[in-house]
Amino acid sequence: MESLMTWLEARLADNSIFTLQTLEYYGEGLTTTVQLVFLSLVIGLILAVPLAIGRGSKHRWISLPIFFYCYVFRGTPLLVQLYLIYYGVVFVEGIQETWLWVVLEKPFVPALIAFTLNTAAYTTEIFRGAIKSTARGEIEAARAYGMSQGLMLRRIVLPSAFRRALPAYGNEVIFMLHASAIASVVTIMDLTGAARFVYARYYAPFDAFLFVAAIYLCLTFAILYLFRYLEKRLLAHLKPASG
Amino acid sequence: MADTPIPLEVRNIKKRFGDTEVLKGLSLTAQKGDVITLIGASGSGKSTFLRCMNLLEQPDEGELVVHGEQILFKETSKGREPADWKQVVRMRAKLSMVFQGFNLWAHMTLLENVIEAPVHVLGKPKKEAIAHARELLERVGLSARADAYPAQMSGGQQQRGAIARALAMDPEVMLFDEPTSALDPELVGDVLKVMRDLAAEGRTMIVVTHEMAFARDVSSQVIYLHEGRVEEAGAPADVLENPRSERLKQFLAPKH
C-alpha cells in the first residue's frame, strides 16, 4: 500500500490538478453518489411494489391518489422536487431547535427523500405496465387451480412481472445515476460536486468535468452489463429453445 | 418499324446470392406489344429475374437495353453497380412495376398514389396528372375509391389501383411480379381481367405468374425457368400444350 502511494505520488508529481488530494475528493464524491443512488433505489423499489399493485386496484380511492402521485413526480423536474423538499425542510419554523435537525441539517437526507420519491414514482409505472401485460391465460390457469387473489399475485403475477420489468428498470437505474448529479446543487459533495469544486479551485473545466464524465461513463457501462447479465439469466425462459 | 427501338432487351443476366448462383445467364427480348410470361416453381429465379430488369436487384453480369439505351455499369469493390444513377432513374420511369404485395403508399389516397410519380418524377402538371389518373381509375373500375386509403380497400382493389399507378407512367414495358399471388381466389378474376384488357390493347408486358390460363390465353411467349436457367421457351401453344421436358410436364400436371 505504502509503495503504491509513493508510486502514485510520483506519477502525479508534475500534475497540478490531479493531486492526491483532488483524487480524494473524487473518491469521496464517488462514495456519496453510490450511497445516494443505491439507497434511494432500494427504498424506492420497496415502495413501488405495493404502489404498483394499488395503482391497478378497482377501488378508485386507492388507485387515484397513486395515479396522482406518479403523475406529479414524473411530470415535474427532479430539481424542483429537490428544492421543494430541501427548502421545505430548512424553512420549517423552529426546526433548527429540534432533535430532527441533527439528521436534516445535512442536505443528504432531503436529497435522499426527493430521489426516493422520484424513483418510486417511475418504478411504480414500470411495474404496473409489467403487471398489466401478464398473459391472460396464466391468470386464468391460476384461478382454475383455485389460487386466491393474494397467492396468485405472489406466485404467478409478480415473479413474471419483475422479470419483464427488468430492461425498463435497468434504464431507470441509469437514469437515477445521472439524475443524482443535481445533488451537487444543494451543496452535496457527490461526484459532480467534487468536479465543481475542482473546477472552481483550479479554473480547469476540461480536466475537472471530463474526468468526472469518464467516471460516470464507467458506472453506466457497469450497470448496463449487470442488467444485461441479469436479463440473460432471468429471461432465458422467454427465448425459443435452440438446437 | 425499323426505327422504333425495341422496348426491352436483356442479355445473359447472372446473379449470385452469396455462394448460390440464382440466375445462370438469362436473356429476353420484348418487342412492342409482346406479352411474355415467366413461369416456374418457387426458387426458379423468375421474380429475381424480373427485379433485375429494373435494377431493384443488381445483376452481377449481363446487359440491359431499355428503349434503345444501354444501361452502363461500373465495377466497384462491392461488386457491379450502375455507373449513372440518373440513367437508372430515367430507365425505371419507363418500366413500371406491379408488385405481389401491391406496395401502394400507405399514407396517400389512391388518387395521390396514382399521380405521385407522374408529378414528382416525370414533372407532369398536377392538373393534367389528376385528369389522367381519373381516366385510369375509371378503366380499372375504381372511380368511386379515388379518395380511399389503401388500408380501406380490398386486396383486389389495391392491386387494380396499383395497375392504374403503373399505367399513369405511360410505360414502355409493364413488369408484373406475381400480381395475383397475394389475393383471395375470388378477387383474382378482376385483376386478371384488367391485365387481359391491357394485353389486348397492345401493351408490352412481362408477367411472372402462376396463372396458367392467363399464360396460355394472353401471352405471345412463355418462358419456363428452372434453377436459374431457361428450360423451355416459345409460343404458349408449344410450351404449355406440348411440353418436351419431364420437369415441365410435371410442373404443368394438375395437382392432387
Binding site: 411530470g75 445521472h178 473545466p205 | -
Partner: protein
C-alpha cells in the same frame, strides 16, 4: 389569492424562457437526431462510428455534467480561439458565451442523441416494399426520402418524439444551475428570499404539468395526422 411577494412578473418571464429554451432545443435535437439516424444507417463506417460514439457518450454522462462542461469549458475554449486570433492576426474580438445559447446547444446536443435512436427505429419500421415501389417508379434518393420515407417514418417516431420532449422539458430546469433565469431559478430565489418554498415551487410544478398536458394533446393530434391511411380497415 396567493401572495407572490411581487415575484409574479419575473416568474412569468422565467416561464417564457423555459418554453423558448425547450422549443429551440427541440428543433436542434430533431435536426441532430435526423443526422445521427442517417449516419447510423449509412454504409460509411466512419460516419457510423462517429454517430455511435456521440450517442454512447451522451447517454453515458449526466446532463448536468455535460452542461457544465460545455458552458464553463465552452467559454475557455472560445477565449483560447479568440486569443489565438489576436496573437496571430491581430483580430480583436471578445465573445461571451451566452447562457441561453449554451443551454440550447447543450440540451439540443443531449437530446439529439436520444432523437437519433428514435428516428433510427422509426425509419427501420417503414415497410421495405413502400420504399421499393418508390425506387421502381424512378424516384431518386431524395424524392423517396421526402415523399415516402419521412412521412411514413413520422408515424412511428411520434411516440418516441413525444416522450423525448417530455424529458427535455424537465431537463431545461438544469439551466438554472448555470445561471440562466428560467422559472426554476426565479422560484428558487423567491423561496430563499421569502422563506415560502411551497408557494413558488408548487406554482412552477403546476406550470410544468400544464405544458406537459398541453403538449400531450398536441402530439395526439399530430399522431392522428400521420396515422392517416392506417388502421381504418378491419
Amino acid at each position: 389569492m396567493i401572495d407572490l411577494h411581487g415575484y409574479g412578473p419575473r416568474l412569468a418571464e422565467g416561464a417564457l424562457i423555459t418554453i423558448e429554451l425547450a422549443v429551440l432545443s427541440l428543433v436542434l435535437a430533431i435536426l441532430l437526431g435526423l443526422a445521427t439516424a442517417s449516419a447510423k444507417m449509412s454504409r460509411n463506417w466512419v460516419l457510423h462510428r462517429v454517430a455511435t460514439l456521440y450517442t454512447t457518450i451522451i447517454r453515458g454522462v449526466p446532463d448536468l455534467v455535460l452542461m457544465m462542461l460545455l458552458f464553463f469549458g465552452g467559454q475557455i475554449g472560445i477565449n483560447m480561439i479568440t486569443d489565438m486570433l489576436y496573437d496571430r492576426f491581430g483580430v480583436d474580438i471578445f465573445i461571451n458565451v451566452n447562457e441561453f445559447i449554451a443551454g440550447v446547444v447543450t440540451i439540443g446536443l443531449i437530446f439529439g442523441a436520444y432523437m437519433g435512436e428514435t428516428f433510427r427505429g422509426a425509419f427501420m419500421a417503414v415497410d421495405a416494399g413502400q420504399i421499393e415501389a418508390g425506387r421502381a417508379y424512378g424516384m431518386n434518393h431524395w424524392l423517396v426520402f421526402r415523399r415516402i420515407r419521412f412521412p411514413q417514418m413520422m408515424r412511428h417516431a411520434i411516440p418516441g418524439l413525444s416522450n423525448n420532449w417530455m424529458v427535455l422539458l424537465k431537463t431545461t430546469a438544469l439551466v438554472s444551475v448555470i445561471g440562466l433565469t428560467d422559472m426554476v431559478r426565479v422560484a428558487s430565489e423567491a423561496s430563499k428570499a421569502t422563506r415560502e418554498p411551497f408557494t413558488f415551487m408548487i406554482i412552477v410544478a403546476v406550470i410544468y404539468l400544464l405544458i406537459a398536458s398541453l403538449s400531450e394533446w398536441g402530439f395526439a393530434r399530430l399522431q392522428k395526422r400521420y396515422d392517416v391511411g392506417y388502421g381504418e380497415a378491419d
